[in-house]
């Protein structure tokens, strides 16, 4: 998603206030600013591009409709992320998502994407290297997909997004100790699938 850098001068809080004052374009700027971040989170949680796009849009829509309840105690991104994590967890728990994951997918999650320059892999000039990287990413994503949603959320936030335990606890709404134990469990599960891959 292309960003219009000239419009990113105002901070999130200002854009939120302008949105609440009735300026829809201000919210568009927030979507542009945080769209990639949310999309990436949703993709790692769901393992599917279409689902990720749908889910990220859902999160923005839910945030927009609940914007009046945003008190500004936390950063807008934290609040938005929390909505996105919950949206992803709901999606993962829904019956249609579980069924769709059972179906044979024509699209790969990573191996075939390695050939797509827009996903940031054009710098790999060696096709073998690109392929291997894509294969590895696909295996990692499949291993992530197999995790229980709660453990997956913690693994994605801590290990892929690089969030601290405290941030992860705030985003997932669970105590710090739970974050630690879930992360340890998720890593143990992933080891059985990713040994020799990473």
């Amino acid at each position: 998603m292309k960003r219009n850098l000239s419009t990113t001068q105002r901070d999130d809080g200002t854009l939120v206030r302008e949105t609440l004052a009735g300026d829809r374009r201000a919210y568009d700027l927030l979507v542009l600013r945080h769209g990639d971040m949310l999309y990436n989170l949703c993709f790692r949680m769901l393992g599917d591009y279409d689902e990720a796009s749908d889910c990220a849009q859902d999160a923005f829509i839910r945030a927009y409709r609940a914007l009046e309840s945003f008190r500004g105690d936390a950063a807008f991104t934290t609040w938005l992320y929390r909505i996105a994590v919950n949206t992803c967890r709901n999606r993962l728990a829904s019956a249609d998502y579980r069924r769709s994951r059972k179906a044979v997918r024509l699209e790969g999650t990573g191996a075939d994407d390695a050939l797509l320059p827009e996903n940031g892999r054009a710098s790999f000039s060696n096709p073998t290297e690109r392929f291997e990287r894509g294969e590895r990413e696909a295996l990692i994503q499949r291993a992530l997909d197999a995790l229980p949603p709660d453990e997956k959320a913690v693994a994605v936030l801590c290990d892929i997004e690089g969030r601290s335990y405290e941030e992860t606890a705030a985003l997932t709404g669970v105590p710090l100790g739970t974050v630690k134990s879930r992360l340890a469990r998720a890593r143990r599960r992933l080891r059985s699938k990713l040994e020799g891959v990473v």
């Binding site: 998603m1 292309k2 568009d28 979507v31 542009l32 769209g35 990639d36 949310l38 999309y39 990436n40 993709f43 790692r44 591009y49 990720a52 796009s53 990220a56 849009q57 923005f60 829509i61 927009y64 409709r65 829904s94 019956a95 249609d96 069924r99 827009e118 996903n119 940031g120 892999r121 590895r136 990413e137 990692i140 693994a155 801590c158 290990d159 892929i160 690089g162 335990y165 630690k180 992360l183 340890a184 890593r187 992933l190 080891r191 990713l194 040994e195 990473v198």
Partner: protein, 309 residues
């Protein structure tokens, strides 16, 4: 420190969340334990790999799609989801299949009025007359059951009907005094006369007696029910004449209040239909919409369409 305790703490160790003392204990243990050292090596490689996964970029039309969806009212989205994403109901596939099968059975076994006619068997023994239709036909006391419209006779199975769906339609114009016509016709039917007498007396009679008058075996009657006969006019006489000929009435479109019918559809043996039509001429003017079919074995379906009295 034992392996179990070390492996429990390794996750926090690689994240740098342990105190200096705990971290030193882990390092000392891993220096002498291959299993824990391998675990630690994996975790370090894993963290490095996961943090270097390329970030995904939202599609170019992300904002456009977002705005499109935002403009759709919440309620409408809910309806669309309900319609096109039924799995959100969390309905098991087996239950959905069962519902579909039930719907199919419903469609097949409870057809509409037109299809009911097609479902009728030409075997009179197999005709199952619904109780409401039966009672309505004989003008049952409204305290027992007040039928709004006379119902349709329906068979229990749909056998041998493939070639019989074609209906021989006769436009029938009633004369004003059909009952005397019947008498003048000198119908030599003792039971019919008995039936007429009962009707004239407006009496309560046993259903078995009515059945006898209608040449219907009493065994078909489920229970003895008092039936009150009323004078329904020429339509009743015509109906009786049809029954006397051995025909099976399939459908009657009659008004329960007035007793007048707009049409009566019945199945009759080929060889019997000519004499019936001759008898019906005493009630009015019968005008076939097309030439009568050739007589032969089996049955034919006739619909009398009444046009006036």
């Amino acid at each position: 420190m034992k392996c179990r305790g070390v492996q429990k703490s390794l996750s926090e160790y690689v994240d740098g969340r342990l105190s200096a003392g705990s971290a030193r204990s882990i390092e000392e243990h891993c220096a002498s334990c291959d299993a824990c050292a391998n675990e630690l090596a994996f975790l370090r490689a894993y963290r490095k790999r996961m943090s270097s996964l390329p970030g995904k970029t939202a599609p170019a039309d992300f904002l456009e799609k977002f705005n499109r969806r935002l403009d759709v009212p919440e309620a409408r989205r809910g309806i669309v989801r309900t319609l096109f994403s039924p799995a959100r109901i969390k309905l098991p596939l087996e239950a959905a299949g069962l519902l579909a099968a039930a719907a199919l059975v419903f469609i097949i076994l409870i057809p509409d009025e037109t299809r009911k006619a097609d479902l009728v068997s030409h075997s009179p023994e197999r005709v199952a007359v619904t109780e409401s239709a039966d009672l309505a036909m004989h003008g049952i006391d409204e305290h027992v059951r007040p039928p709004a419209k006379r119902r349709v006779h329906q068979t229990a199975s749909r056998d041998k009907t493939a070639g019989q769906a074609r209906v021989y339609v006769i436009a029938f114009t009633l004369r004003s005094a059909s009952a005397p016509a019947l008498a003048m016709n000198g119908a030599p039917h003792g039971r019919a006369r008995e039936y007429e007498e009962m009707k004239a007396a407006d009496a309560y009679v046993s259903k078995a007696k009515v059945a006898a008058a209608r040449q219907m075996p009493p065994a078909e009657e489920k229970k003895e029910t008092a039936v009150r006969l009323t004078d329904d006019g020429p339509h009743t006489d015509i109906r009786n004449a049809i029954r006397r000929s051995g025909a099976t009435i399939i459908e009657e479109k009659c008004d329960a209040a007035t007793g007048r019918c707009s049409s009566i559809t019945f199945e009759i043996r080929h060889e019997a239909h000519t004499s019936l039509l001759n008898e019906l001429k005493s009630f009015g003017d019968a005008r076939p919409e097309r030439p009568a079919p050739k007589t032969g074995a089996g049955t034919m379906r006739i619909q009398l369409r009444f046009s006036g009295e």
